[in-house]
Amino acid sequence: MEQLHTLWLSTGLYQLSVGQFVMILVGLVLLFLAIRKNFEPLLLIPIGFGGILANIPVAGLAEPGGLLYLIYEAGLTTGVFPLLIFMGVGAMTDFGPLLANPRTLLLGAAAQFGIFVALLGALSLNYLGLDFSLADAASIGIIGGADGPTSIYVASRLSPELLGAVAVAAYSYMALVPLIQPPVIRLLTTEKQRRIKMEQLRPVGRLEKILFPILLLVLVALLLPDAAPLLGMFCFGNLMKESGVVNRLVDTTTNALINTLTILLGLAVGAKLGAEEFLVPETLGILVLGLAAFVIGTGSGVLMAQVMNRFSKVPINPIIGAAGVSAVPMAARVANRVGLEANPQNHLLMHAMGPNVAGVIGSAVAAGVLLNLAG
């Protein structure tokens, strides 16, 4: 009888707080979006499920000793998961289109503007009663990098308590890129500009592809060591791929290893979806600012392309500037689709891949600056 009482006291029905109930609903919504709407399911299924697990009362999965807590400590407090995932991303990235047209790097640079506008926006929200430190603002801004591992790495370093909201915003908006970007692109371009045909990209040889990650690494080492963990692992993965002599390592890196880490990363992020951390006004601010960052980044990329067209004879279709936010490869596909709407013969996909991967480098560089100066 006493034990029955003990048992009842430890049921969820007795212990569940309103906040936990709401967060379980949030988790279910994420699962719905992932499964039914195909919102980045590789990440949002583990994150959503982890969020539910973290909010089960009594079980304490996200508290010291709990499974999610242990995964979080092992992989995110240390930074190991996002860095190794970034290695895998590097091993899946082809810099060929970028090497064939290096100036598209500037599109990837410009599109990072959204990061810093969102950062300022976060600090401004302090006037509305929210409470964001400079580090918090940097963690929010990096959502505009449109790159999951980079966002998670920065937020786990600077503002672990915001990690849940930042990661959810980052992956959600990446999934929403097909809805977010087209109106922005159309607003900032004319129909005629969107019809611009671009020159066929030159083929890029193996030697160039091998040397690129090495040169990038050396530049990072000399100029921006703070970006070395992220870009270093990224270049490492890419060099393994392009070297062509360690295919078995590349195979594991891009399959078993990245898949395992993706599951664990998602669960660890879910551990940060505790009600008391997530159900705060700041989260709303983060969601709004993240969206703003995506919009502004998209716009900056497009405008940079317009500016470059002023100064260059070889024209750039400004649509591909939008791919500079990264959100690989979704943003490049969106650019391709918008281009096809304007001119059904105009396949921009490969042209957009250049700024797309440039955006990955750009936001990693921005992450380095933020970690150095806002940390």
Partner: protein
């Protein structure tokens, strides 16, 4: 608070500056790289691999060698 905003503006200017500067340098380096490669190793810009696919990459494990020998033995036995 005002101070924080000022820091934020500074961070924005510096951050975008560094991103643009770094990627501009990278553009220069890539263009140089491309020129160098085209001049000094032009053959490799085609589709041929830089080095012949090495036969020693991913060396067959000993048990594969054993399987080969098995095959040879059976072949001999059949003759």
């Amino acid at each position: 608070m005002n101070d924080l905003l000022a820091q934020g503006v500074q961070l924005m200017v510096l951050g975008m500056g560094v991103v643009l500067a770094f990627l501009l340098i990278l553009v220069a380096v890539m263009t140089g790289l491309s020129a160098l490669v085209t001049r000094f190793a032009p053959d490799t810009t085609g589709n041929e691999p830089v080095a012949e696919p090495s036969p020693t990459e991913d060396t067959p494990a000993p048990h594969i060698l054993a399987a080969i020998q098995d095959a040879i033995r059976q072949h001999r036995a059949q003759r």
